[in-house]
Subunit: 675 residues, 2 copies
């Protein structure tokens, strides 16, 4: 009774007609018809499945119920869904016409219809139905005391069939639980390809029973057993996700050659190779003239291929500089004898030999764009990755591949390890508007893939590198090409990012863990404030040409707590813009509050640093921010004549290289105020 009485006096959020642009949907569906009315959610809410679905829909539907219940605390009565048509009268009816097959070009469409007393998800396959359930979860609304769905009709299907995320499990090993939680997050963003980078210079990460030396000598004990691989593939399949393994050859070969130096291209009889401990490009390369190379790869493919039921196998093929080949007279001789004009042709010779070895297992060969040479089979899939950093037209290989008759996938522009802002990825369309392509050529562009290279990525910080930016990439690959509004993206992302926590994604929670470590268990507020305006150095600058960090160096530093798209930088910029447009007291205060916060923060950080050595490298940048804040505070509050020299001096030295490997992300906004 008391409880009820209190409810009468609290502020209420009542049901009001929601507008389409208020929905936090991502990726944005193809068609939304929002009308008036609501479907009220109660603990008796139940769902029912009909049709001929794959069993994965039962897993997905059960997870849907638990997630809905976890958000609402309604104590939903329905427990585990295990078979068709269990509750014919249920409010939520899910019908799947047929068993979906995980892979490319499967029908992933769905229609979601919410009326005031009934919800329908109709899909050709369970894969589409799973997408429908994710959309439904994103539609959840609330008043101050209850939950509901808006009355709406949605029909939806993906623009591209390849919507991928690559995780590099080599540079830093990523245990199964890291992979699983990211598969859950991918599924929530309707992504359908997980590309697993399993072998590179820094390690061999997959058990090969016939050749245990690979993991014994080249994994430091960090690898996936075949049983674990099977577990992940099953988990992915339950979420409608295809897993594509990558064994990177013939370059990036330090690990495989540590175990089997006899198939390397070095000249000496007493060659030794060692597992790479730094970033960057290594020279060890398989010997394409040695039959043993193909024997070993054949053995490896024979074990790896059956673990992955999908039809694609990525053989890498990138960044082979051919130094070992050039230095080996026997290899040079082989080239001459076989009429191979250069190392590209030699690599093509190598790659072409792999095609039938994979075809035996019903796998199509995929490789990074370097494999696209004039003699390369049109059956190969070209993975486009190079861009400005490699001094070529960004994604140029994608267009070339499509025109040359290859199927192709875009990763240039989706390199999330570059730590660039979200808009650069979001606006990177696989089919650029300024390029003219035939319908056939367009159809060869399968889609895109975010690449999480892990030189500076551990289980502690990986989620904050992948998410939420990958959600924007997922939208680019699923939604209409005209969905490009950045304000809408930022607004929706606040909710999307928060909801990722429900799936176990650690991007928010682990930030505080790193900050607590840095402060040495002191109050983290000041440090969090600072981390919210700092971003890790971009474009691999943090790693100083790959030389600063070993693969075992600590990634528990301030730069690891910071993320691309610093939380407060965006809000500060809006505040500055509003203020410059209208210098009323309200807009002024919004700006000056930031300055006061940063001034106080600097003093707090200095205090914390007395008992926290890891704060010391951060202080110079914090001091810069404090000093410019003091100056601009005087300017904005009109308390002092502007001394532009002082201000410009401060701004100029603002982001000089910091020992903390970060930059303060508000420089551009500050400059606006100093003009």
């Amino acid at each position: 009774m008391k409880y009820i009485l209190i409810l009468l006096f609290i502020p209420f959020l009542s049901i009001s007609q929601i507008k389409k642009e208020e929905l936090d949907l991502m990726p944005w569906p193809q068609n939304i018809n929002l009308t008036s009315g609501t479907f009220a959610l109660s603990k008796s809410f139940k769902l029912n499945i009909t049709g001929n679905p794959n069993l994965r829909i039962f897993v997905g539907a059960t997870n849907f119920l638990r997630r809905l219940d976890g958000r609402t605390g309604l104590f939903l009565e329905q427990a585990f869904i295990t078979k068709n048509n269990e509750v014919p009268a249920a409010e939520l009816q899910i019908n799947c016409v047929r068993n979906g097959k995980v892979g490319l070009n499967e029908d992933e469409s769905y229609a979601l219809t919410i009326s005031s007393n009934r919800i329908m998800i109709n899909a050709a396959t369970d894969l589409g139905a799973l997408h429908g359930l994710e959309t439904l979860l994103q539609l959840l609304q609330n008043t101050s005391t209850s939950y509901y769905f808006p009355v709406v009709e949605i029909t939806d299907s993906p623009r591209f069939t390849w919507r991928g995320l690559m995780i590099d499990a080599v540079r830093h090993f990523q245990p199964v639980d890291v992979i699983k939680r990211n598969l859950d997050a991918m599924a929530s963003m309707k992504m359908n390809v997980f590309h697993w980078h399993l072998a590179d210079d820094q390690g061999w990460r997959i058990e090969i029973k016939k050749h245990p030396k690979l993991t014994e000598l080249a994994s430091d004990g960090y690898y996936y057993t075949q049983e674990e691989i099977r577990t992940v593939v099953k988990y992915a399949s339950e979420r409608g996700i295809l897993v594509v393994p990558e064994i990177d050859v013939p370059g990036h070969g330090s690990a495989i050659l540590t175990a089997y130096p006899e198939i390397g291209s070095k000249v000496s009889n007493e060659v030794t190779y060692t597992v790479g401990r730094r970033s960057g490009i290594y020279t060890p390369t398989l010997d394409p003239t040695n039959p043993k190379t193909y024997q070993l790869l054949g053995d490896i493919f024979d074990e790896v291929c059956p673990l992955f039921p999908g039809n694609y196998f990525h053989i890498g093929g990138d960044e082979n500089q051919g130094k070992e080949w050039d230095a080996n007279p026997k290899i040079q001789e082989f080239k001459k004898k076989n009429g191979l004009a250069n190392n590209h042709e030699l690599q093509t010779y190598f790659t072409m030999k792999l095609i039938p070895m994979l075809k035996k297992h019903n796998k199509e060969l995929m490789g990074w764009e370097e494999i696209m040479t004039k003699n390369m089979s049109k059956e190969a899939i070209i993975h486009s990755w190079k861009g400005v950093n490699e001094s070529v037209v960004p994604g140029g290989s994608l267009i070339a591949a499509a025109k040359n008759g290859y199927k192709t996938v875009l990763s240039n522009g989706y390199y999330i390890d570059l730590m660039l802002g979200i808009q650069s990825h979001y606006l990177n369309d696989p089919i650029p508007k300024n390029i003219v392509l035939t319908a056939e050529e367009k159809a060869r562009i399968l889609g895109g893939e975010a690449t999480m290279w892990s030189e500076l990525v551990t289980p502690l910080n990986i989620d904050s590198r992948i998410w939420p930016r990958t959600a924007a990439i997922a939208e680019r690959l699923w939604s209409n090409e005209n969905i490009t509004d950045l304000n809408s993206l930022h607004k929706r992302l606040k909710t999307i990012s928060f909801r990722l926590e429900e799936l176990g994604i650690m991007h928010l929670r682990n930030k505080d863990v790193i900050l607590r470590n840095i402060t040495n268990n002191q109050e983290i507020k000041a440090l969090r404030d600072f981390s919210n305006v700092c971003e890790p150095l971009k474009n691999y600058k943090r790693n100083g040409g790959g030389k600063k960090y070993f693969m075992f160096s600590p990634l528990t530093l301030f730069a690891d707590a910071c993320t691309a798209d610093a939380f407060d930088a965006y809000d500060f910029d809006i505040a500055v813009n509003n203020y410059l447009e209208n210098k009323n007291i309200e807009n002024q205060t919004l700006v000056t509050n930031f300055f006061r916060k940063w001034i106080a923060m600097d003093a707090d950080l200095i205090n914390l640093s007395a008992n926290a050595p890891l704060i010391q490298p951060i202080l110079p940048l914090s001091k810069n921010l404090k000093e410019i804040s003091e100056q601009l505070l005087l300017v904005v509050e009109n308390k002092k004549t502007v001394n532009l020299d002082v201000i410009n001096g401060l701004l100029e030295q603002f982001n000089t290289r910091s020992p903390a490997d970060v930059e303060v992300a508000v420089l551009a906004s500050l400059k606006k105020l100093s003009q």
Copy 2:
């Protein structure tokens, strides 16, 4: 240069002689000889291993380096330790005389000697050396700019040989990553037994290849594959931890009987059993008169035993109320025929049949205290668990077992799922001072075990239920019985709890995750403030006799964010005590700051609740705290004549049952102020 200049102006924490009581060691070592001086840590710090250790020391030493580097950010140069005597000149020398065997009564002692330029860990076995490394990590100190270890000599060994943690993976399944991170935390607290509760009424959680129906019909898909079990056992062994599996029979049999109803004790020919969905004691019980029962258990033991190399197997044996036996005439007849006077004797008959089945696999049988009947073999190990809640002398069975010639382990008093305060567990000694036992009897008391029953425990909240309270239990079982100072415990625990994050323990980070969900992604500060004075209802009251929560009910609620030993309650009590002792303005302010915080908090919570239905159930309690705070603020600040009736009225209704399943933990402290 700029960086260096700045360092000159910040407050410094210089090296000063640390006192023994300032060390945050846990469990407290047996002997500490702290002298003056320090060992300075630098990036060139290296370690070296000599002797004849088990390979696990290499894993432990490598992890030690990574943890040390993660804390300090020193970029230590040493990478992976893979063999003996790699760096003979290293500053840290670890010598293990012999290969340690994971199990009971192994030598776990170590001697750690730190001088100003050298650190030595000497141990009979690698198990002792691993403990030494944990102690060394706990000794890490810092100035404002550097890290060091104090010069000290420590010799240490455990008081009890069984220092265990049980995790119930049945009521809520706990995936492998949950188990692994808790094994890491256990090792850091020098615990050495992980008891894995794998079968109960609510599920069968271990793959049995010969009888797949067990997991097909009775696990809801949540179970460990045998490969996963092997992975966990290996992981535990690398950390010096013995794994003891539990298959609970003949009671707690709903799951096994769901798959194999034919070995149940129900009369009907058409019996059906179903997996339990609630807490509490179920009646389904194996039929001890049916030869098929032993056949199936034999098959199960034949698969389960080889997975666990240790010498112990827990068969449960608890809470069989014999209802099905009483109701079954055939079973009654069997009892008569075999001269079994009652159900206890029938259960003994059953249990005795299991002993040789396990002995075949070199396993000793262990069971909950109910198995201790007059005819029970003295080879069985008695697990003492009953206490006040079961209307018996707490831990009485432990003493009885020791006197009757049984080896025995104590869990009564270590039931961390009761959500009691830490001191009740900490002061619960396996050998109470008031009991006279012979040396032989004392030796039969192997130690103790914290029990994490999981009716209200999911991967999201489990860590905050286990830690940090289990650290206090670990100290009770390792350290001298005279180490009982609660102030010291609380002081050390602040650091110990913080450091558990390094091992992946989620107790701190997941709290905020739950709070963000409750606030519906609004600012969580007010809710966190409130959670810091609230505790989940104790002694199973939260679950209303096991009837409130199904096994699939949401555990994402305010009670799940709250923990035993509410953070602020302890500090508030100290503030109140200080104030009552000396009502100076400083002490008064410390108290009134709490009141002002709680008054503001209530207003903030009301605001948040406008857009967060899950806050509604919390408001009545917050209102109570606000109202009493307003009254007592007036009292403490002498602004008003005390109206004791009002205050006592507020206090009386203060913790009336809340819909949020928590109680405010400052009531006793508030009462002190109102007197």
